[in-house]
């Protein structure tokens, strides 16, 4: 363990469970407990619990916050009702991606931004510097050290959460669910609150991301796992989180997203509202849209059994290097190598044949939908 690694409130819990620990984005995190393949399978078939306390919680409040966030983020915050959440991006002036995040409207003038662990300080500085033009009608607060995050993911996660938070009517009968709908967040009335529960995730499965105080994290961790025992819920590490998100075609900032590429290149145009008015990076995106989008983030599938593709393997077309993989793995669900790579736009169409260079040998691959989960082979 690097002495500079930060520990989440659950680090001791992971060590007690004999998790294999690694450094990720400056954090001391579990990579696996029983094994990546088994944890991956359990999330696809039942449910798995992840520590996501390393992620950042930045609150934006005040009467100017809607206007402010709409000038800072790519998606249209005005579309969010209270309790609504949306995936969105924060760009530099050139349109390059600084971070991808989730923006929740907790109250009408109170927003929660969930940002990537390795970007908390940079993001906060960037958000604050832009918020200074909106003072005093906007306040920004980095509350990351106060919060912990637990993600319960998998088809059985709703049943587990339902049992954990039963809604009982005045006659003692089960009634309407307390649980949030997809892409929304609720504050659950619990004794050792706060507890914010969002119906979101990074695995391609139904699931919940629960945000609680750092002190209460071990309590919720143990309670969720114990409640999920009948469904076979197990603790899962970042290894499975990475293979799960890659099968779902979700990009990872720092690997698939970077200031070198715009969200239009990354295929995230659905989360960019060019019509809503000015926001940081918009002019560059408009120019790119009017002229040309040079590269596109393509999903690759290996044709047949190959060594697993990994990040930074060259991608070739007609023997010429046309790009490199930014993420890659064996898909545990389908037993097939999958990868993401920025390719020249003309080579990014589905069905395009390319090759991936793995240790000097070329293996054929096909440009395919990025989610192998939704578009099964």
């Amino acid at each position: 363990m690097s002495s500079t690694s930060k520990r989440t409130p659950l680090a001791a819990t992971h060590e007690l469970l004999s998790a294999r620990m690694m450094e990720f984005g400056g954090w001391h995190m579990p990579v696996q407990y029983q094994g990546i393949l088994q944890e991956h399978k359990t999330v696809r078939e039942a449910a798995g619990l992840f520590d996501i306390s390393h992620m950042g919680e930045v609150f934006v409040s005040g009467p100017g916050s809607e206007l402010f966030l709409n000038t800072l983020l790519t998606n249209d915050v005005r579309r969010l009702p209270v309790g609504g959440g949306q995936y969105t991006l924060m760009l530099n002036e050139g349109g390059g991606v600084l971070d991808d995040l989730l923006c929740y409207r907790i109250e009408s003038e109170h927003y929660l931004l969930i940002v990537n662990a390795s970007k908390i300080d940079e993001d906060f500085a960037w958000i604050r510097s832009h918020a200074s033009h909106f003072e005093p009608s906007v306040q920004v607060e980095n509350q990351s050290p106060l919060w912990a995050g637990l993600a319960l993911q998998g088809p059985k996660s709703a049943a587990i959460m339902q049992r954990l938070f039963p809604q009982i009517d005045e006659r003692g009968q089960p009634s309407a669910s307390l649980l949030p709908a997809r892409n929304t967040i609720v504050s659950l009335p619990v004794a050792n609150g706060p507890l914010l529960v969002a119906r979101t995730g990074y695995t391609g499965e139904d699931g919940f991301e629960c945000f609680c105080s750092s002190q209460s994290a071990p309590f919720w961790w143990d309670l969720i796992l114990k409640t999920g025992e009948p469904e076979g819920a197990v603790p899962c590490g970042l290894g499975a989180r990475d293979t799960l998100r890659l099968e779902a075609g979700f990009p990872l900032n720092g690997a698939d997203l970077s200031p070198e590429h715009t969200p239009l290149e990354a295929g995230l145009g659905a989360f960019v509202s060019l019509q809503k008015g000015k926001f940081v990076g918009r002019d560059s995106l408009l120019t790119q849209k009017e002229t040309s989008i040079p590269t596109k983030l393509a999903g690759l599938r290996m044709d047949g059994p190959t060594p697993p593709p990994r990040a930074h393997y060259p991608v070739l077309f007609n023997g010429e290097r046309v790009g490199e993989t930014c993420s890659g793995s064996l898909s545990p669900t389908f037993g097939l190598g999958i990868a993401l790579a920025y390719l020249p736009s003309q080579l990014a169409a589905f069905g395009q044949k390319v090759a991936v260079d793995i240790r000097g040998r070329q293996f054929p691959a096909t440009v395919s939908p990025r989610s192998i989960l939704k578009h099964k082979p």
């Binding site: 294999r20 990579v31 696996q32 094994g35 990546i36 393949l37 290894g239 293979t243 059994p305 190959t306 060594p307 697993p308 990994r310 793995s329 064996l330 545990p332 240790r359």
Partner: protein, 127 residues
């Protein structure tokens, strides 16, 4: 960790079980545990000649690709084809069904640099 007494060991965590002029090679129980789930084995080509300590093939887990080194000088006489479809044999039976290749040892091949089971166990104890 299982350290069978019928084998010799390389510092880089391969085992070698000698039978006359030939020897079977695999990776140790400790190595498979460190690698975690093995998902791909790039087997060496039969007929390849290697010297002791030379990189000969690659074993890949979900997270990483690891080079495997030949513990002795010789010519690859056979490879474990079962690993193509069942790479997990390296995890489930690293010293048995998870063997990787068989060498015909060079005449006078020197095995003195390899560790005894006791020495290898001591190495694991220190790491």
């Amino acid at each position: 960790m299982n350290v069978p007494t019928d084998s010799l060991y390389a510092t880089s965590h391969e085992w070698l079980r000698r039978d006359g002029d030939t020897a079977v090679v695999g990776i140790t129980d400790h190595a498979q545990h460190e690698l975690t789930d093995v998902v791909y084995v790039e087997l060496p080509a039969v007929g390849t000649h290697v010297s002791a300590g030379q990189q000969i093939c690659v074993v890949e887990s979900v997270k990483a690709a690891s080079d495997i080194y030949s513990p002795a000088a010789g010519t690859v006489e056979a490879v474990n084809e079962s690993l193509s479809n069942s790479p997990e044999l390296i995890n489930t039976d690293p010293h048995g069904d998870g063997w990787i290749f068989k060498l015909r040892l060079d005449a006078g091949a020197d095995l003195a640099h390899l560790k005894t089971p006791e020495e290898y166990s001591a190495q694991l104890g220190q790491s």
